[in-house]
């Protein structure tokens, strides 16, 4: 079958870089590819190259735990992520690719009064902005996830939860591949194994990028490299508040389906969902210090397993199948950094920390708009890089630190 009806390639692989493009996007993660897709589809800018130093989806895009939600804490954040959620709902049809988008219901458990208070605050902000989100007591959690030991072995009982019914998961690789294919079909070139090593600036304006395969001339560059942003911004001497920490995750061996909700516990630094393959997909808090390496540690699985057993004691015999890590580019206020930079023609999409997968569609849309019009899209205006020197932060910490 496969020999007679070969599956067409997802995207073209031109073997040569052209000397000039209308726009160059650094990084073939979900964000870079989505921006390329909307530039071509919505703004007619098709002479675009996406340059990727490794392979498509090599960064956080292929390493995240795929949680999608919009129950954030600030009005700016809620509006932005909710638009992403809206785009995600029709994305499979839009990209003509099954993204396995699966609505699960997202519970953020509270084991203390202080956490419960932040959740009430979040629920009220969410409801005010039309997001389906509410504070619920233990009865609702028991009904939706009967396997959970609400007493946590008597250690730190669950007092309630922020419940967000639209919370979902999706196949992260498919999101990147779908956007890549859609962009490629519309004329965008994707070049893997192509590392940007410098950005040429003339008279305060971008003139092109240096790569390991030669110089490419362009007047517009989008940096969408998440955990690698500080290195790229150093090329043009622009300082950012980003600090890179590894974020680790792991999956169990596949189990029969038993968990159809997404369970997060900020107090226990743990979150878990079950994939369509049956694996439990699990993550914990950020690694505690700066590191630009995707190494895994035993510390992480040990700590995570201990906390997992507090919630689900019956998982004691289950084995861990794989573990891995990705780089999280953390901002001081836990909101992203998006928009223009002090260099004309250089645009930034960064500060994705532990929360950027869910934002992929809205980032693509708003960054494409920003590049095409040389003006930030209204939804991302609050996330501008200059907010730090203006002391105008968008404090999202209560919702983004381990919330995914």
């Amino acid at each position: 079958m496969s020999r007679r009806y070969p599956e067409p390639r997802m995207f073209r692989c031109p073997d040569r870089l052209k000397p000039h493009y209308d726009a160059v996007i650094i990084g073939a993660g979900g964000h870079g590819l989505a921006a390329a897709y909307y530039l071509a589809r919505d703004h007619g800018i098709r002479d675009v190259a996406v340059l990727e130093k490794s392979y498509l989806g090599a960064g956080g895009t292929g390493r995240n735990t795929a949680i999608i939600r919009s129950n954030y804490l600030t009005a700016e954040g809620v509006r932005f992520y909710d638009e992403s959620l809206r785009l995600f709902r029709d994305l499979s049809a839009d990209l003509d690719l099954n993204l396995f988008y699966s609505r699960r219901g997202h519970f953020t458990l509270a084991h203390s009064d202080a956490t419960l208070r932040t959740m009430r605050w979040r629920a009220e902000v969410n409801k005010h902005l039309g997001v389906d989100s509410e504070l619920v007591g233990p009865e609702v959690i028991r009904r939706e996830c009967p396997q959970l030991d609400l007493s946590c072995g008597g250690h730190t009982p669950v007092l309630g939860a922020l419940y967000h019914p639209p919370g979902a998961i999706a196949r992260h690789d498919a999101v990147a591949w779908g956007y890549g294919r859609g962009a490629s079909q519309r004329g965008v070139e994707i070049h893997q194994q192509t590392e940007v090593t410098g950005i040429r600036v003339q008279g305060g304006r971008v003139a092109g990028v240096e790569t390991n395969r030669g110089f490419v001339e362009t007047g517009k560059v989008l940096s969408a490299v998440a955990g690698y942003t500080p290195a790229v911004m150093e090329m043009v001497d622009v300082r950012t508040p980003l600090e890179v920490h590894p974020l680790q995750a792991c999956v169990s061996e596949p189990l029969k389906p038993w968990l159809d909700t997404i369970i997060v516990s900020a107090n226990l630094h743990l979150y878990v969902s079950q994939s369509s393959r049956g694996e439990l997909v699990m993550g914990a808090a950020l690694d505690p210090y700066e590191l630009h390496s995707t190494r895994s540690t035993l510390d992480f699985v040990e700590g995570l397993a201990g906390h997992l057993l507090e919630l689900f004691p019956f998982l004691g015999e289950v084995r861990v199948l794989r573990q891995w890590a990705g780089l999280a580019d953390m901002t001081p206020d836990f909101s992203p950094i998006m928009g223009k930079t002090p260099v004309e023609g250089l645009y930034l999409d960064a500060g994705w920390g532990t929360w950027g997968f869910k934002a992929t569609p809205v980032c693509g849309k708003t960054m494409a708009h920003t590049l095409a019009n040389d003006r930030p899209h209204p939804l991302i205006e609050p996330f501008r890089l200059s907010r730090f020197e203006e002391f105008d932060l968008v404090g999202e910490k209560g919702a983004a630190s381990v919330g995914h």
């Binding site: 290195a231 950012t240 700066e290 020197e389 002391f391």
Partner: protein
């Protein structure tokens, strides 16, 4: 097990330490501009490099400086603030 040398207590497991961020000279708040102050408060040299950092040995409360390679996580030296490195 990953270990680190506290200049006072010697080699201890890394779990006994807390990271205090990069070592950065503080501008005089009364004399610098808002921009310089914001740069100090928020901005970082975020790319991978050998960096000078504050660390604290939690059990004894000793704050000290570590020089660490942030790509490989190799700790090159640790010493008390005011003493320079280059001696064990």
């Amino acid at each position: 097990m990953k270990v680190m040398r506290c200049p006072v207590n010697g080699w201890r497991p890394i779990q006994e330490f807390s990271y205090g961020g990069a070592f950065r000279p503080m501008p005089q708040p009364g004399e610098c501009s808002n921009r310089q102050w914001a740069d100090y408060v928020f901005h970082r040299s975020g790319a991978a490099a050998v960096k000078k950092e504050w660390w604290c040995h939690l059990a004894s409360g000793v704050w000290f400086i570590a020089e660490r390679n942030t790509s490989t996580d190799e700790i090159l030296e640790t010493y008390l603030h005011g003493e320079d490195g280059h001696h064990e």
